[in-house]
């Protein structure tokens, strides 16, 4: 059977190009044979059977590997919880302290913190005041200032 292949150009004219390509003839021949086989029922059955046998063979060979892969990832046994820690319940409860000493004290010389308002005659020994104000009619301002300086820098009431 002769076959003509018609090609349409961009300009719109149609002409036979089958003589330009032997490959087209060859492809057509294979297709024709296949169609012929389909009509007679011989070639397509054989080819289909062969294809299915190949798939089944592959599956038989590959499936165990796949199942093995799946099996390795599956949980075979689990527990209702994780193993706890008895250790912590057996440890002593400890309150530990560290004390750092200070240098020798000399409160007679420098006193100790008080930070309170006081009548000075209620105290004795070393006294140091903050922003002391001293005023009396018996003293000059120079003397009052001198007293305030003593009170602010520390003095001994004795």
């Amino acid at each position: 059977m002769s076959v003509s292949i018609w090609t349409q150009t961009e300009a719109g004219s149609i002409y036979d190009t089958s003589h330009k390509s032997g490959k087209i003839d060859s492809a057509w021949t294979r297709a024709k044979n296949t169609i012929t086989g389909a009509i007679t029922g011989n070639n397509i059955v054989d080819e289909g059977r062969s294809l299915l046998e190949g798939v089944v063979s592959s599956v038989r060979e590959v499936l165990p590997k796949a199942l093995s892969t799946a099996n390795a990832a599956m949980a075979q046994l689990s527990f209702s919880g994780t193993t706890g820690n008895f250790q912590s319940a057996s440890e002593d409860i400890v309150l530990s302290a560290k004390f750092q000493p200070i240098v020798e004290q000399y409160p007679e010389k420098i006193g100790s913190p008080l930070y309170k308002k006081r009548y000075l005659h209620d105290l004795s020994g070393f006294i140091k005041c903050e922003d002391a104000v001293f005023s009396t009619t018996l003293a000059t301002s120079v003397e009052e200032q001198a007293v305030e300086e003593f009170l602010n820098s520390g003095f001994f009431f004795e």
Binding site: V62, L77, G84, A89, I93, G111, S112, F126, T140, F156
Partner: protein, 379 residues
């Protein structure tokens, strides 16, 4: 005049009887704070013996800061002693006193003294966990709380929680797994071996936790001698308690430690502040809650550190509260200075076959993709 030893910054006044009265003449020009006085003391008396004077006419005390000899007379150079002169007025004044010898506040940190790296003292107080919990982790004591799916009208959800002694739990597990007769299925219906394959009793135990609490001191729920497990009832060799209410599933334990104090603060009342940071530091190790550095201001001036643990027996979730007190029993848990969470219950594994849907899904995807890849390669 006196021969008198006193500090320049002192209000000290000599005894009148210890002095000697002399007549002198003020030099023509002087100030009240600084002046010179001429004395005719004769040849016998050595004037520089005296270093302190009171001039009645001026009503002031003076330090004699220098002497010089002029035209056969001793001249005293004097500077007023304002502290002695106005001692009464100074004493009657009210001042804001920052430091004093005769009165102090031991709660104020005295920064005048620096610390020494040498001579650090360590101290501690230890409480055995047995004393706190009432049971030892290494003994057969302690309480096991299991959550069991079974018939019980008073269960919490589908699960009933039973508390029992460790030995009772062991006997229960043994009776459950050593035979299948408890299932009450005739061997003529289903063989015993098949029953064992079909029935997995551990699947009904959904949780199992051990608590370091002596079961004999445990009084949380109604007493029972059997466990309802799935469709079956298991007798127990000893009593268990059913934690049928949420409140019964909570338990608390309290105890205390004695707070160590800085040795210097104990021997010197001025140094109480040494129990505070940075002079003192405290660490509490209470597992499984952790190791904590404690705020020294919370322990300051207190004798006891109280510890209270509240535990949920269903989950083991627990809360540790710390409080301090000067006397036993005076702990205020509502105002605990430290509250932290932890897990007291120790989970005991109970084996059972389980299907992890997520893992199955991932496994099947991995296996399937491998198979498809192989087939594609072969075709």
């Amino acid at each position: 005049m006196w021969s008198f030893d006193k500090k320049r910054n002192s209000t000290k006044i000599p005894e009148e009887s210890a002095g000697r009265v002399f007549n002198g003449e003020l030099k023509q020009e002087f100030t009240i704070t600084g002046l010179e006085v001429t004395f005719n003391l004769g040849k016998e008396l050595y004037a520089p013996t005296y270093n302190y004077a009171y001039i009645p006419n001026l009503r002031r005390y003076y330090f004699i800061t220098d002497w010089y000899y002029e035209a056969g007379l001793w001249v005293a150079v004097c500077a007023v002693d304002v502290l002695a002169t106005f001692k009464t007025e100074i004493g009657n004044s009210i001042q804001y006193v920052t430091r004093a010898y005769s009165d102090w506040d031991p709660n104020i940190i005295d920064t005048a003294y620096i610390t020494r790296a040498e001579g650090i003292v360590r101290d501690n107080d230890v409480l055995s966990p047995d004393l706190f919990w009432g049971a030892s982790a290494w003994s057969d004591s302690g309480t096991v709380v299991i959550g069991v799916v079974g018939a019980n009208a008073s269960s919490i959800g589908a699960v009933t929680y039973y508390a029992m002694a460790m030995s009772t739990f062991g006997a229960f597990m043994d009776s459950m797994l050593s035979g299948i007769s408890w299932a009450n299925i005739s061997a003529s219906e289903i063989s015993e071996e098949l029953q064992k394959a079909l029935i997995n009793p551990t699947q009904y135990i959904v949780s199992c936790k051990w608590f370091p609490i002596l079961f004999s001191s445990f009084h949380q729920g109604a007493i029972t001698y059997q466990i309802e497990l799935g469709w079956w009832s298991f007798p127990l060799i000893a009593s268990a308690q059913v934690l049928s209410t949420v409140s019964s599933a909570w338990i608390s334990r309290e105890s205390y430690l004695t707070i160590p104090h800085n040795p210097q603060s104990r021997t010197n009342p001025r140094l109480a502040y040494l129990d505070l940071a940075p002079y003192s530091s405290y660490m509490l190790k209470f597992l499984p809650f952790g190791i904590f550095q404690l705020d020294t201001t919370e322990l300051y001036d207190k004798t006891y550190l109280g510890m209270r643990v509240e535990s949920n027996l269903m989950t083991g979730d627990s809360v540790l509260k710390l409080s301090t007190s000067g006397a036993l029993g005076g702990f205020n848990w509502e105002n605990s200075f430290l509250v932290t969470e932890g897990q007291i219950g120790v989970t005991i594994p109970v084996g059972q076959i389980a299907a992890d849907i997520g893992k199955y899904k991932n496994a099947l995807i991995a296996g399937g993709s491998t198979a498809i890849a192989e087939i594609i390669d072969r075709t």
